[in-house]
Each structure stands twice: as C-alpha cells, then as structure tokens.
C-alpha cells in the first residue's frame, strides 16, 4: 500500500500508474536519444569500412590515458548514482512505514531528511555530479591538447597525404560524438545537482525516489553511450602493427 504524500496528476488513477507512465516515458525518450546518436554511429561505420588504415592512425592520435581515466570516472559516477537511488528508496520506504503507524500525513514530509539513508543519498548525488564535472574537466584538457595539435577538422588540419581525409573524417566524428555526449552529461549534472540541493534543503517532494530513479536512468544512459564511444574512438587499431 503506497501512502506517499504526493499529489497524483488528475489524469492518473493511482500513484503506481503514474510511476509506470513516467518510467516508460523516460525509456522511450532514451530510445529517441539513442537514435539521435544514430547517424554519427552510422557515419562511423561508413568511415571504418572505407578507410580502416586512416582510422587506425587517427585513433593513435587520441589521448588514451585521459580517455581511460574518464571512463573510470564515469563508471564510478554511475556507481554513486545507483547508491543514491537505493538510499533514497530506502529512506522513503522507512518514512512511509513510520507514517503509516501514526497516520499523520504532514509529519511524513519532515521525516526522511533526518534519516541516515537520506544523507547517504545526498552525498552520493553530490558525488555523482562532482564526478561528472571532473569528466568534463578532463575532456576539456583533452580538447585543448587536440586543438593545439591541429587535430580539429577544417583548414589547417595537421595531417595531409593519402590518409589525411580519413583521419580528418574520424576526428570530425570524435569531436561531434564526444561534444554531443558532453552536452548530455552537462544536462545530467544539472539535474543531479538540482536533486542534491533539493535534498539538502529538505525539499523531499521534489527529490523523491521516483525523480532520482528517473535521473539515474538518464545518467546511466549517458554512461552507456560513453562505453561505446571509448573503444570505437580510442582503442580501435591501437593493437595492430
């Protein structure tokens, strides 16, 4: 029996229905997002099959150390996000159980933020946002290096010769894909930070377990995109002769 002190929108019959709709809505949004990245992955497929040698050269010019560091940072942030969701759910369930006992709807609003679980959730959210910002900082350093090395596509591109076009093609995709990823990450950081601040200010209704769960779903999606970007941009062709 759900007794969360939250308003159900008039079009829904129950909180469970509203939860289901919100979650499904976010999954469909993520499907759209995936297809939004689609043309870039398709363009990658085209380039990789048409000039594999150039792609091998190009990936050796990416910064694999910083790229790997960023992969580690992002995976850790996803762990923190998962902890935040679990902790916030535990806090909400605990407060719901206590509120059921004294049947006081208003009391519930003030309860969760005192619990240890809520503090864990808040810290984990802050950690998630912080790691996200660390990722962007490392990415910025990488971009600066590449800009100085004239690896940004366009006039004055560092590499010419027979493989020049292919290398430039990959670097265009590198910048387009990582920048699009970074934009998504920045939005995620804003959302997660807003939830952390809301918890800090005890606005538990905004920072509900449901909202944190949805933010988490988005965060993991952005993470998974990176899991694909990392090997196709940094690792391809490095092992070859």
């Amino acid at each position: 029996m759900t007794t969360q002190a939250r308003r159900i929108a008039p079009q829904f019959g129950s909180a469970a229905q509203q939860d289901e709709a919100a979650t499904l809505g976010l999954w469909i949004f993520l499907a759209t997002e995936l297809l939004f990245f689609g043309p870039l992955f398709f363009g990658y497929l085209y380039g990789r099959t048409h000039f594999p040698a150039a792609f091998a050269i190009a990936s050796r010019h990416t910064d694999v150390v910083l790229g790997t560091l960023n992969t580690a940072i992002l995976l850790t942030s996803s762990l923190a996000m998962a902890i935040a969701v679990a902790a916030r759910e535990a806090a909400e369930n605990g407060s719901a159980a206590r509120a059921d006992e004294d049947r006081d709807d208003n009391a519930r609003r003030d309860m969760p933020e005192d619990s240890a679980a809520t503090r864990v959730a808040m810290a984990a959210l802050a950690g998630t946002a912080g790691l996200g910002m660390a990722f962007l900082a490392v990415k910025g350093i990488e971009y600066a290096h590449e800009w100085q090395a004239h690896l940004f596509p366009g006039a004055g591109f560092a590499m010419t010769g027979p493989q020049g076009h292919g290398v430039q093609y990959l670097f265009f995709l590198y910048f387009a894909m990582t920048a699009l990823h970074a934009v998504h990450l920045a939005i995620g950081i804003a959302a997660v930070a807003a939830l952390a601040i809301a918890l800090y200010r005890k606005k538990v209704r905004f920072a509900s377990a449901r909202h944190i769960r949805l933010a988490g779903l988005y965060w993991h999606f952005v993470d998974v995109v990176w899991i694909f970007l990392y090997p196709i941009l940094y690792l391809v062709g490095r092992s070859g002769a």
Binding site: Q11, G13, G25, L35, P39, A155, Y169, F172, L173
Partner: protein, 547 residues
C-alpha cells in the same frame, strides 16, 4: 453500461458543461492541458499551413499550364516546390491525423481522462507552432531551392538560399513529433480503461501507436542529419563532402531512413481512420481484426527497412538495391492485407454512403492505385526509367493526398459531431467528397502518363507535346481547390447553425461515442468498463454493441 443509460446521460450533459464551455478566453485555450482543446489548436494551425502549402501548389500548377516559363522564374519555381513540399510534409501531413484527430481521440478511445503527459502535449504544440512559423518565414521571406529533400552537395556547397534557417525550422518541428509520439505510446501502455485489452483497441489506436513508434525512432535520425548538413554548410566540416572523406550518398541513406518511414507516419493513421469508418457505415465487424492489427505493426517494422529504394540510381551497390527492392515488395503484403480486409468488411454489409464513407472508399481506391504504382518504382529496372519523373510525383501524391488527405477529411467529418456537438450538412459533405475525388484524379492521373512518357519533375518548362496532359492536371487542381475550400465553409457554418448531434449520431461502437458531444472536460463522467470487442456491429439488424 447499457446503451439506453448512456444515451440518457449523454443528452443530459450535452447542454451542460463540456470541454468547449470550460473557458472562452484566448488564455484559456493557449494554456489548456486538455487533450481535446490541444487537438483543436493543432486543427486550426495545420489547416492554416495546409492552405499556405496549397497556395504554393496552385502557383506551381499555374506555371505548368503552359510549356514556357511565363509566370515565375526558374529560381522562384524551385522555391515554390520546396515550400510546397516542406510545408505539406512537416507542417501538415506528419501532424495531421496523429496530432489533431489522434490527440482528440486516443484518450477517449481507450477510456482515459487525458494523455499521460498533458503538459508535454501542450509543449509539443508550442514547439510545432514555433518551428512552423520559423520555417514559414524562412520559406516565404527568403526561400530555399533545394527541394524538401535537402540533397548534398547542393544543399551544403552550392545553394545560395536560406537553407540553414529552414533546417533549423524542420529540426524544431521534429521535436514536436517526438513528444507527441512519446505521449501516445505511454498513454496506450498505461492509461487503458479496465477491460480494454490490446486486442480490443480500435484499429485507429493501433495505427497511431505504430505511427508513434516510427515518430520516436525515425525523427531523431532526421534531426541529427539536418544538424550535420548545417555544420557542413557553416563550418565546412562534416561527413557528406568527399573532399573531407565523406560521401553524399551517406546523406541520402540517413535522410531516407527517416523520410521513407515518414510515408508510413502519414498513411498508417489514415488507415486507422478508414478502419473506423468502414465498419460503422457497413454495419459490420471489421474483417480479420487481428490481421489488421498485425498488418499495421508489420508495415511499421518493414517500413524501416525499405529506404534504399530511393537510391537505386544514386550509385548504391546493386546488391543493396536488390535487397531493398525485395523488402519494398514485402511491405506491399501487409498493405494488401488491409485493402482486402476492408473490402471483405464491405461484403454483405449494410452500407450507407454518408460523407465519411465516401472519403473512406475514395481512400481505398486511391491508396490501391498509389500502392500498385509503388511496385513499379520498387522494380529495379523500371525505376531507372521512372526515377525523378512525374510518375514518382503522381505515385506519392496518390498515397499522401489521395490516401492520407482523403482519410483525414473523412475522419474530420466522421468525428465532427463529437468535436463540435453539431452535425455538418450531409449533402454538402457528399458533394465535396465527390468533387475532391474527381479533382484529385484529374490532377494526378495525367501525371502518371507524363512521367511514363519521360517528363522529369522539378522543371518549370517542358516540351510542347506534354501540354495537353499538363493542362488537364492544372484543370483538375482547380477542381480540387474547390473541393478543399467547401468543407472549410460548411463545417464553419455548422459550428453555429448545424443540428445538435447527440452522443452517438452514427450508432458507432467506440468508447468516444459513449459520452456526450461535445465531451465533458474529463471525457467520461465515470471510468468506462469495457466489456466488448471493437466493431460489434450487426449487418442484419444494423444494431451494435458498444464497447
């Protein structure tokens, strides 16, 4: 609930508060979260864009009345057909049935109070209007000469018109589609009334559900592709320019990955409308309901895998061409299932030729012609001859105008009593349907002959021997224009002077007919309990069992 009870409660509330009487101010409309009001916002805006797009078509047909380029210059002509295409595809056809009729009907047909995300629904309309006005300004004040297809390298390197502005406008419009699609999918999954199982859903709901899946999966691909064109045009970096290692054919793949499924975005909801109208006016259960539902899904899925048939002559590999040709033939199978099932529904039905039925029958005939000529174009060898000729123009107008617009108008007539609470004048409705059918065929059938004889599309002059057929086509267009203006007049008239409709003037089975006309704000005074399958009509007695 028994039908008698429903009738009683329906008449009781029709005089009382309904969604139209909720508020009379402009603000009450522009800030509404009611799906029915948002549907009307869409209806008004798409109608405006339809007539603007139609004005461009009028100028095109006037120019083509003579072989010489005597009305407009070739540059203006290029801008006209681009404007016509962009407006009709993205500002009329894509949103027409889903965003206007679908918005109104989807929640009611499944017995819900609203869509799952009403605020998002309103946001989607604002995005649509913003994108639409932005695009329209760019098209009218500046103009673009690339055609609605924006092919590279012309769009990226050579065109000196306002390509970027139009790309931005279409990009914005795309998000409106995505949000509507998302809303519909979630609504169908989570908001169905008790007893409304998946295989009790009206086929209109199935069709819009499948359309929504295409909208959310195909539209983002177009968005990114347009963004890549803009980048290439602005900064000279990208993946379509061979000088940068790219390939213009890559653009065509990405563009048609959206734009072929977009055809199904236009025609699937039209099929949904026809599947509601035909059983009601034949007083007969739709033939092969499950096959109809699966055919809708089949068209949506296979429709994603046929895009390469637009590139048979674009240096695409011949093996890819063979596969795409085969897949294009396969998509004809579920389409044919639908046509045969509508026909079988008519068999031994008790048919009345009301205006919606005339539109629906017109759809079946014209869609069949458009579909069969599609098979000509899906054949590798014949396509070499017919590519980029008027045969193609005629083929897709049979699907989009003869198909989608006919069904759209049929749907508007069918649900007009529900939307407005008034009956339209039946005789005028039938006359308009006939005028449109005749005008349409006179406009576009000659174009098949022109294309087969080799007249290429997108030229503002042509050899004198093509004049007779072109004059016939232009004459047909003027008849068509009359046909389109008529409903605007008599539907507008009926808003004030039409007879009161009552809850269920067609004796139809859907849930939307079991509430008052116009419906109350929350659609149903109590949540309906669905106890019957869709389309429980009896041709012998003409009676029906409501859902």
């Amino acid at each position: 609930m028994a039908p008698a009870q429903i009738e009683a409660s329906g008449t009781a509330t029709s005089e009382a508060a309904n969604y139209l009487t909720e508020g009379y101010t402009l603000t009450s409309w522009l800030t509404t979260h009611d799906h029915k009001r948002i549907a009307l916002l869409y209806l008004v805006s798409i109608t405006a864009f339809f007539f603007i797009g139609g004005a461009a078509a009028t100028l095109i047909r006037l120019e083509l009345a003579t072989p010489q380029g005597d009305l407009v210059s070739h540059d203006t002509y290029n801008k006209l057909f681009t404007a016509h295409g962009v407006i009709m595809v993205w500002m009329f056809l894509i949103p027409s049935i889903p965003s206007a009729l679908g918005n109104f009907l989807m929640p009611m047909m499944i017995g819900a109070r609203d869509l799952a995300f009403p605020r998002l629904n309103l946001v989607s309309w604002y995005i649509y209007v913003l994108g639409g006005l932005f695009t329209l300004m760019a098209l009218v004040l500046g103009g673009v000469d690339t055609g609605w297809t924006f092919y590279t390298p012309f769009s990226t390197m050579f065109s000196n018109t306002h390509v970027i502005l139009v790309l931005v406008g279409v990009f914005i419009l795309g998000f409106s589609s995505i949000l509507t699609g998302l809303n519909f999918i979630v609504t169908v999954h989570t908001m169905r009334a008790p007893g409304m199982g998946w295989f009790r859903l009206p086929l209109f709901v199935w069709a819009n559900y499948a359309t929504s899946i295409i909208l959310v999966l195909a539209t983002p691909v177009l968005a990114m592709t347009l963004l890549l064109i803009a980048l290439e045009r602005l900064f000279g970096v990208g993946i379509f320019d061979p000088a940068l290692g790219g390939d213009p054919v890559l653009f065509q793949h990405l563009f048609w990955f959206y734009s072929h499924p977009a055809v199904y975005i236009m025609v699937l909801p039209a099929m949904g409308v026809v599947s509601e109208i035909v059983p009601c006016f034949a007083r007969k259960r739709v033939f092969g309901y499950r096959f109809m539902a699966y055919a809708i899904l089949g068209i949506a899925v296979i429709g994603f895998m046929v895009w390469g048939h637009h590139m048979f002559v674009s240096s695409q590999s011949i093996y890819a061409g063979l596969v795409f040709s085969l897949l294009s033939f396969l998509v004809a199978i579920p389409s044919a299932i639908k046509v045969f099932n509508w026909t079988a529904t008519l068999y031994k039905g008790s048919i009345t030729f009301a205006a919606p039925m005339l539109y629906a029958l017109g759809f079946i005939g014209l869609f069949t012609v458009g579909g069969l000529t599609g098979l000509f174009l899906a054949s590798l060898a014949i396509d070499v001859h017919l590519s980029d000729t008027y045969f193609v123009v005629s083929h897709f107008h049979y699907i989009m105008v003869g198909g989608a617009v006919m069904a759209y108008l049929g749907g508007i007539h069918f649900w007009w009593p529900k939307i407005s609470g008034r009956l339209y004048p039946e005789m005028w409705g039938r006359i308009a349907a006939l005028i449109i059918f005749i005008g349409f065929n006179l406009t576009f059938f000659p174009q098949y002959l022109l294309g087969y004889a080799g007249m290429p599309r997108r030229y503002h002059t042509y050899p004198p021997e093509f004049q007779l057929l072109n004059v016939l086509s232009s004459a047909g267009a003027s008849i068509l224009a009359v046909g389109y203006l008529l409903p605007l007049a008599y539907l507008g008239w009926s808003l004030f002077y039409g007879k009161r409709a009552g809850a269920n003037p067609w004796q139809a089975t859907g849930l939307e007919w079991q509430t008052a006309s116009p419906p109350p704000k929350e659609n149903f005074l109590q949540t309906p309990l669905v106890t019957a399958d869709a389309y429980a009509y009896d041709p012998q007695t003409g009676t029906q069992v409501p859902q």
